[in-house]
Subunit: 312 residues, 4 copies
């Protein structure tokens, strides 16, 4: 590896690998904390500097270019294709100082922007893999998740020692495969969350206790449990996954699916529903899709009692 | 309890409770074996006598009436409302000899037929609860599942010692609640299975490895694992849950939901898809819905290679 | 024809055919007025007597039985299966005095109740055809519509002289065919009205003038024109066709389609939408489904200006 | 108007306006014939020269640039955004020789490519309006259709004398409005055609005569009549509107609608169905969507008899 300005240590003990994390939102900051906790040296950057400082690990750089200059590994965790382009390109962008780094894209940005940026990354002598995490930020902190990496085998192996700190690492195919698979996973998650809301509400309309129904659905999809307050108490903050972001992911997924003529009617319909929720309260957690049902049938959560009476 | 002809034992040790199981299909036979294995005395009946004999536990009765005559507890596990009516009514039906038994309905028959039969059951001095199992028959054999019971609390408590042998018992509400909640659960299951098929196929169309995609989806819905051969090898027998039965359950569920004006667009759409699959191969496992996608997009499983080339 | 108590006229001119119209809602009263206007003698009955009196033609009977007693032809125009049963059965029902009449069912009640009542009708020596009208009540007043009749050819011919006064008569198949075809037609109408609302709203969101869009859609579906006030001014009264009735028809249609395993995904989805509209304002005209869209996208009609600015 | 090299005529009679038609497919050739028939002088160009020659009117140019060089008005009628770009740009593209012409875009290309090309057009001193036709090519030949024009009022007025030869002209809003409204209209058409296929097939499954059902649906949507052979005889050639083109239009429409957060569930679902039909036989007429239904329910057209038996 052509490591730029790798620090040497006096006593001969090997220097710690330095990792830049560009983008310190929910997922980026969880990644940074986990990597710092497992002994790596961190450099953080975020468009909102105070957010990077708030993470409380490593040092904070002024620009992506500055963050990349002194590290061996660069992880990006951003909100979408535009943010990724903005972070890589331009005079203070990550690629301005890149030279032989290992880039790891961990956002859900879709395969198009990856293909677009890839030649620009490799031109700097750097490698590029896309390796999103399957799982929620809290689990990343324990290294308990699955990391799905796309790219050349050799490039994936080169960053194995980093990615394995975040969870089980799985090489899932050529470059872009991680991103595509992540879109499939998030489409699945979106549908699970929406249909659970539909059925919990329909069950309540039919006189069933919401909590009991939720417990039964959670037996089948254990990860629903982390959204209990959303489903039962209409509390959708803080957002583990904002409905705005789910909509973005569904749009990216449908773009990928439609391009290869895949037939995805349920996903397309789910996207329309999520869009409605996103139009109203984009920053709430995706559990807020339940409001779409509660409101629509003329009451939902609020008129449970009345309905119960009506069923009997 | 007004136990008709309860056998007394010579040495004074308490007689074993006798349970009739009416209907010995996949679920009924699993229930019978589990109850026999935990020390109860079984009387079986099935419309197809050889099927009851094949279970290999207890004795086999000629008619529902004969089966009910000498037992304290009667469990029904049948294919639908018509079968339930046929088993309860008529001169050789279960109610012909009923007198003070505890009836437990464990099929997925929907609440309407239950309401219809209930006064006829109570008129015999018997009690009636609806208590379907959430889970697949194999798990019932280990007593590892959840039993969701609807009915008067006293009636549910009266059969607790039987139902707890089959799994965790939960009293979920008034009579009919078990049946309604089971319809909610099966609607959820049907959607999970269908959307997993849609997304696995769309992912394959987009160049992803089917096995890898399946693994990721299974992380989110662990119970998909038991359908691995269906999703990856197009093998849909033996059916754990026949697509014909899922369609029946979705129709019952939509009937319940529509009556209370619940808004269930995704469920309604899923029903249409499942119906298509059921029209072709009704006896296959519900994993066979994947054929709907594979065929539709002009190849699916078969043209994976071609598509892969196209994506890159 | 076994005409009970047909009146003779003094001068020997042939007596006018007497027709009972049972149910004088929007359609029933239009039928009665048209038939009276073309020279038939009318006897009216409605559950709400004042409504029958308000029609202003013929005489008003106390009960269906009384209305039927002195006529040759009986037309029913009611709100659904229950109303039809209530009108035919019981001591003061139409069948109590029926003897050799020609019964014509012109409601949208679905084929099931027709099959149920048919043997009871023929037992009285009467004939029975189902002959709904395709078209709106106002057109019936000019005899400008299409009447689709199901039944034995001879039975249909026997009432031709009555039905042709209401519009073009077409014998569409065996008994029940008129009712089934009417359900198909109303399902089509419901979809047209809903998708027009969806597209007009989406067009407005994209900056198009609502009136212009409506004109273009109306070129393709001329009958939309009668709902101009609904689409453009949010005025949905008086209801030409109440959303509650459309929902009922869609439920009947889906019942018919599902029984024969027809695959009807769009219809099933449309039903869910209409149901939502019906839950809120059941008595408004079906054009009110547009509120579903306007509300959902966060404004619709109200924020047109803002959106326009946003697009360009 | 800055008319480049407008020919003068000897006797002083005003010279005929020269119009270039770029793209002579179904619609382009109908436009060219109609304009020639009403006295304009035509220059045609098509990527496939023989197709332009086959139109039989005007002269044929080698390149778009050559076609544009000597005319006052330029009409484009192409298959999509890519074709439009290819025709306008490059050394032999339409803009290479443009200077003060009136450009009229009459394809269904969506608003994005229009916005992209507009500054390039105006830079040549030319004007640009988008003015698609609502209607089928045969009607254009009689000048019986509606032309919906978007653009500055002055630019639309400037080409009024040309567009009014093709049908009623309506100025529908700023530049791009014609294109957006055309997408709305084609989305409506696609849904009408699909739901008619769904309901005709469901009706046939329920025992109704296909021809009778088709007649009733056609009463509500007269333009269905031109697809009679498709709906009743499974003949989908020649394509009036190829299913591949409908899919393209639905994708463009959904792109427009999603960008402004319009809620379009029915349209999104229709797109998925059309996509399936397009994957199989892209060049057939859109009436071929009926195959989707016939096949799905296990027979459709072919098993009508059997089903009829089953219903009775």
């Amino acid at each position: 590896m052509n490591s730029p300005s790798r620090p040497t240590t006096a006593g001969g003990s090997p220097p710690r690998t330095r990792v830049a994390v560009l983008g310190t939102g929910r997922m980026g900051s969880a990644i940074a904390r986990r990597l710092a906790g497992t002994g790596l040296e961190l450099v953080l950057w975020d468009r909102t500097r105070s957010r990077a400082e708030g993470v409380g690990v490593g040092t904070v750089a002024e620009t992506p270019a500055a963050a990349v200059a002194g590290v061996e590994v660069v992880i990006t965790s951003l909100t979408g294709p535009e943010a990724l382009r903005g972070t890589f390109l331009g005079p203070s962008g990550a690629l301005a100082t890149a030279s032989g780094q290992s880039f790891i894209e961990m956002s859900t940005v879709g395969p198009d922007v990856l293909e677009e940026l890839r030649p620009l990354v490799t031109r700097t002598g750097s490698t590029f893999v896309d390796a999103p995490v399957i799982g929620a930020p809290p689990a990343v902190l324990q290294g308990a998740e699955l990391v799905i990496a796309g790219g050349e085998r050799i490039d994936v192996e080169r960053v194995r020692f980093v990615l394995e700190r975040l969870g089980e690492l799985r090489h899932v195919g050529p470059f872009g495969s991680g991103s595509r698979l992540k879109l499939v996973a998030n489409s699945f998650l979106g549908t699970l969350v929406l249909i659970a809301a539909e059925l919990e509400t329909a069950g309540a309309d039919a006189g069933l206790d919401r909590g009991t129904t939720f417990d039964v659905l959670t037996r089948m999809v254990p990860s629903l449990a982390m959204r209990r307050a959303g489903y039962l108490e209409d509390r959708h903050t803080p957002a583990l996954f904002a409905v705005r972001d789910l909509r973005k992911d569904l749009d990216l997924a449908l773009g990928v699916f439609h391009r290869v003529d895949a037939h995805v009617p349920i996903t397309a319909l789910v996207r329309e529903w999520v869009d409605e929720a996103a139009a109203k309260d984009p920053d709430l957690d995706i559990s807020s899709v339940i409001r779409r049902y509660s409101g629509s049938s003329g009451g939902g959560m609020r008129r449970e009692g009345a309905l119960l009476g009506r069923v009997r």
